[in-house]
Amino acid sequence: MSIVLEAHGIRKQFPGVLANDDVSFDLKKGEIHVLLGENGAGKSTLMNVLYGLYKPDGGEIRVNGQAISMSSPRDAIEHGIGMVHQHFMLIPVFTVAENIMLGMESVRGLALDEKVVAERVRELSRDLGMELDPNAYVHDLSVGVQQRVEIVKALYRKAEILILDEPTAVLTPQEVEDLFKIMHDLTNRGVSIVFITHKLKEVLEVADRITVMRGGKVVGSTTPSEISEAELANLMVGREVSLTVDKAAAQPKETVLEVSNLRVLDNLGTVAVDDVSLTVQAGEILGIAGVQGNGQTELVRALTGLARVSGGSIRLDGQEVANASPRRITELGSAHIPEDRQKDGLVLPFPVMDNLVLNTYYLPPFSQGLVVHWDRALENANQRIEQFDIRTPSAMTHVGTLSGGNQQKVIVARELSRPIKLLIASQPTRGLDVGSIEYIHGQIIKRRDEGVAVLLVSTELDEVLQLSDRIAVMYRGKILAVVPAAEATKESIGLLMAGITEKKPA
């Protein structure tokens, strides 16, 4: 098979980080080449170089054997390279067809012939087996469908090389399966695909070849038949990692959180949390399993004061906190790792330093009243960066420029660095790489062992099973059952998650 795309000795320096250090990579016609690496390994940087978005500081790029130089994605598109970014680049208020037309040169005069484009988009997407409505507005589409728009957009521009940057990070398992089908279909037509991920299971499922990056360098190249999941993990992280969690038996003590008959409405006014009662003891982890959208989000928001409670009671350390303000709940000793870290947990344009005092800026030692002592906040930030191994050029770096794993570490560092009685962790490792997951799991267990009551909410069943001491399954707003983790199996919890409660079939 011929090599369609080749990068040789790519170097790319960012302020404080050498994101790509002498990286070489090649792609053969019709293959799926997985680029694996932890967050921050430099995968997106390499791909942005190949797509003409970043100018490399050194190295050479060849397409079909010919050395080329690119100054913008336009050049890449001309060479048949298409890319679907980790962060979408669609304009939400435009239709699918308009988004696909956007920035195209093949416009006759000024009259954009939208009808013609729409028709071709419809044909092309049908042909690829992923029916798109060209007249739908992008903001009305699910993430999975938006992703297809991006793929069709690239193919519409005659891309023969497709770069998919962490496409599965936000997809449901079913959407992931569909995407893999589309990818195989494309490779059968001769399209070559670079697929970026840090999820090990996916790698072995779809890859023809695998290249692993770490710390800006390529650390290995292999094929699925030559390597196991555990070996891949070690290669990616650079040390032995355990894909399982080691923990001692829980020593539960007094009740810290007591929820009775809780009712919460979602923003449309329908009942999202329906008569939920549960308790969490100091020194134990109660895991809440459930398919996304079964009321877990609203439950957590109510417990943390971010959503109105319409019935029932919440007692934290003996005090009633239903409809209390988030600040009061925090001050009573509750920590919250929010589900959507970028929306709720961080102020992206602010420095790491500010984000580390987001909810303690008004308390000693940072402030006694009106004035904030930023020198102390900086000192605090430098300590946390060291202690929690947050990879950032400095405490003054904007948090939005850090990788997802490091953003999450900022939140974890902030929430776990004050005296707490209760930790509410919602999807604490979503979208993170193996190393970060291992680290955050370790921190949660550590707090449990120190006597913190932990409420863990996760849609990853494996995560709930590994960490929890007791497991509650949420389905359509109700808690269907609470079982000791020792008695739970993937199958039994899986059935409950689907709403099936009968022990034996009739």
Binding site: H87, F88, T330, L358, W374, N382
Partner: protein, 376 residues
């Protein structure tokens, strides 16, 4: 990441890329506008070099010219700060114009009518403080109302501050033509009587119009900077402005913060009006201080919502306004060309992609953000 020993590291608060964003891009926007403005002047048959020389002379050519430039600049600074504070808190206060008018009306009333109402003279210092303070309060309340509506009903502040502008400007017109009209039988103008001398903010030098208001304006810029970046309240305002959800998560009372931000913004706008009355005109007149509240939006944008930037942008706008007359006198190029240049500046600052493209400046972290990417 090498191990850093201890927390004592260099405190590099401002990084070069930020300097590019907040310094270089606005500067290039101004330069580009001047060039385009020059082309327009040339196209109209004028000599752009002579025009700009005249402009410069009119703005900085003599002590008096300098003094006049600061006279123009002080309301720009107050009003520019007002808009910038709003922006920092995520609020677009288009209502500075109306808040400023009310500030002027209140200061004028306290200046000419209050001693009569009390039936006693007011000591000078106290009277000035009352007049300026009254103007600040009037502007503050006028802005706090849309703030309240935003916080408790979600009513958008852009719409509501525009509405409040209409009310304020028409009410001002009514007051100056009616109840507050200068009763002097010779007067046909919509204006208040002169304020009494005890309410005058005295000139710094008797021979120039340069007044304490300009110094107060610089002081306010420092105060705004301190408040926004050094206090808990400022942190709450900036956090609410940058990410409302995160502010709520962090326990900030966002409703209160929104109202306080608007109040503070309106206080600054009101101060702009009050200072014009107590330090310069000694009365309010319909047609005084018109357009400052709108120019302030351009100034805040050009100053990147930073107090220092607002001061610089105000000085620039003031110099252009002040120098324009001299330019017209020397070269017969109409002063309107200055409005065109100011509009161009605003355009280039608002659409800074254009400037970045012209000068090949990469965006701050080479990341595009048209949408929020993965998952909503």
């Amino acid at each position: 990441m090498s191990e850093e020993q201890g927390p004592k590291k260099t405190r590099s608060f401002k990084l070069p890329p930020q300097l590019v964003n907040t310094g270089l891009v606005p500067l290039l926007a101004v330069l580009t506008s001047m060039v385009v403005g020059g082309l327009i002047i040339a196209a109209a048959g004028g000599n752009p070099f002579a025009a700009y020389a005249g402009l410069f002379e009119g703005a900085f050519g003599s002590l008096n010219a300098l003094s006049e430039t600061t006279v123009w600049a002080s309301p720009y600074i107050f009003a520019g700060l007002a808009v910038a504070v709003g922006f920092k808190g995520g609020l677009f206060n288009i209502g500075a114009e109306g808040q400023l008018a009310f500030g002027a009306v209140a200061a004028a009333w306290i200046g000419y009518a209050l001693p009569g109402m009390l039936g006693a003279d007011i000591p000078a210092v106290l009277h000035v403080i009352l007049a300026v303070g009254g103007g600040m309060l009037a502007g503050g309340i006028w802005a706090a109302i849309p703030g309240f509506l935003k916080a408790y009903t979600g009513g958008h502040e852009v719409i509501n501050t525009i509405m409040m502008n209409y009310i304020a400007l028409n009410l001002t017109s009514f007051l100056l033509n009616g109840p507050m009209k200068d009763p002097n039988p010779m007067n046909v103008v919509a204006r208040t009587p002169l304020i009494v001398e005890s309410a005058h903010l005295p000139p710094v030098f008797p021979e120039f119009r340069f007044h304490w208001g300009f110094i107060l304006a610089i002081g306010m810029a420092v105060l705004v900077w301190w408040l926004l970046w050094k206090t808990t309240l400022g942190f709450e305002i900036r956090t609410t402005g940058a990410n409302l959800d995160a502010a709520r998560y962090a326990g900030v009372n966002v409703k209160r913060t929104i109202i306080v931000t608007m109040l503070f913004s309106g206080i600054l706008a009101g101060m702009a009006g009050a200072i014009e009355v107590t330090a310069l005109n000694y009365r309010h007149e319909l047609g005084f201080a018109v357009g400052y509240g709108f120019d302030a939006i351009a100034i805040a944008l050009l100053g990147k919502n930073h107090p220092a930037g607002v001061v610089l942008a105000s000085l620039l706008f003031a110099a252009m306004r002040n120098g324009a007359t001299r330019m017209q006198f020397l070269t017969q190029i109409p002063v309107d060309v200055i409005s065109v240049i100011q509009a161009l500046i605003l355009l280039f600052v608002a659409a800074d992609t254009v400037v970045r493209y012209i000068y090949r400046i990469r965006s701050r972290d080479e990341r595009f953000s048209l949408t929020r990417g993965w998952g909503k």
